[in-house]
Symmetry: C2
Subunit: 213 residues, 2 copies
DNA sequence: ACTTTAAGTGAACACGTGTACGCTCAATTT
DNA sequence: AAATTGAGCGTACACGTGTTCACTTAAAGT
């Protein structure tokens, strides 16, 4: 009843997940992950793998879930930073970049499977990104008093840009990463101005838009 | 001297490229492309493959190049549409979405290898995207009289959003695709307004920015 | 104490993979 | 006409893959 058995099982399950994480790298993605190699690194026989996951796919989906979880935990940190009175935009971008920096393997997994070859994977990642977007959207509605519609457009654009920049950051050195961060902050501020202009001056701004076609 | 030999070689080379293209699909990406299957579909022996490409990697890079080429040809079409006096934003977005629609396999290849496991591939795709961005940037400087700096920020943001939307479009039905298109147009207009506000009212806008932190 | 359950094992299978090697034989060059 | 070149072929090899099956052996349930 001590659950020593269940505990051991959970332990090797974690070992498998950890082993899979370790094998993910810039050169070696989930697609080329091998059951046998993962089992070897986890210290169990290849066949024992099936006691924990039905498929490699199931393992992969678990990794995606954990990645999304980490990402959302990060979001909360970011909000705390905002509460302390910093700039939302700067805080969000820098914490996101830190996430990419500290969880390279997991971010790369999310990124690759976002446009990968398994529909189920793509949808799992899409779900995580949607969480991300909708929390940002809620923030824009609640704290910044944007309309739902405008908040949705803004949040969606921001998340797209930030994820895309995160992807570039994977291959960048520190200096380039810094440049990307500052660039992104500028871009998000442009979007903020645009959204602001859209809500505060809906009619006059239409002319400005027409002016540039 | 008729070059009948060279012609034949080029022909089977095209056959290999075409075969590779055909095997690319939502479920079966470049990573899991097999030399033997490609050779089989091209109608040659597996070993003959090496008469044309040193590696599968070399074939892959060829595919990326061709994809980028197609993409830039498309850009030109898009400009023609603009010259005819439509909205730049609408024209660009719709032609891009059409490209994704008509060249699904090639766009997916670009997208996957953009964050794929071969550094060489990633850089090849990055180069293509940069072409895309810098042409848009030039347009914004030349035709819309933005400063270089502001044009760069704008172009970069736009391309990131558009590629990201293109990715989503791959899994979308026609109705959803239409929604994505309209949403993107709105988003790019917000960016246009933001950029406009930034250049016309650099100082007052700072306050607006501070207001939303 | 006896039975059941289930995590972990090891051997074996069938299969697809990339690629090295030596060959053919038609197009090209000399 | 003779020599050379090179695209394409068939065989063979060594290897890693996922998965099956019948097993051991402790923990958990009775």
């Amino acid at each position: 009843m001590a659950g020593i058995r269940a505990a051991q099982k959970e332990k090797t399950r974690r070992a498998l997940i950890q082993a899979a994480m370790n094998q993910l790298s810039a050169e070696h993605g989930y697609a080329s992950l091998s059951l046998r190699e993962v089992a070897r690194e986890a210290g169990i026989a290849p066949t024992s793998f099936y006691r924990h996951f039905q498929n490699m796919e199931e393992l992969g989906l678990t990794l995606v879930d954990e990645g999304g979880l980490t990402l959302r935990q990060l979001l909360r940190q970011s909000r705390q930073q905002i509460a302390k009175g910093g700039s939302i935009i700067r805080a969000s971008v820098t914490t996101f970049m830190e996430f990419v920096n500290n969880n390279t393997a997991i971010f790369r997994l999310l990124l690759q499977e976002k446009s990968g070859n398994s529909r189920e994977f793509r949808m799992a990642v899409a779900r995580e990104v949607e969480h991300f977007t909708s929390e940002l959207e809620d923030y824009l509605v609640d704290e910044q008093k944007f309309t739902r519609e405008l908040a949705e457009l803004q949040a969606d654009a921001i998340v797209r840009i930030v994820f895309s920049v995160g992807a570039d950051a994977l291959d960048a050195d520190n200096k380039e990463r810094q440049r990307l961060t500052e660039q992104t902050i500028h871009q998000l501020r442009i979007i903020a101005r645009g959204a602001e202009a859209t809500r505060t001056a809906a009619i006059p701004t239409e002319q400005a838009v027409r002016r540039q076609q």
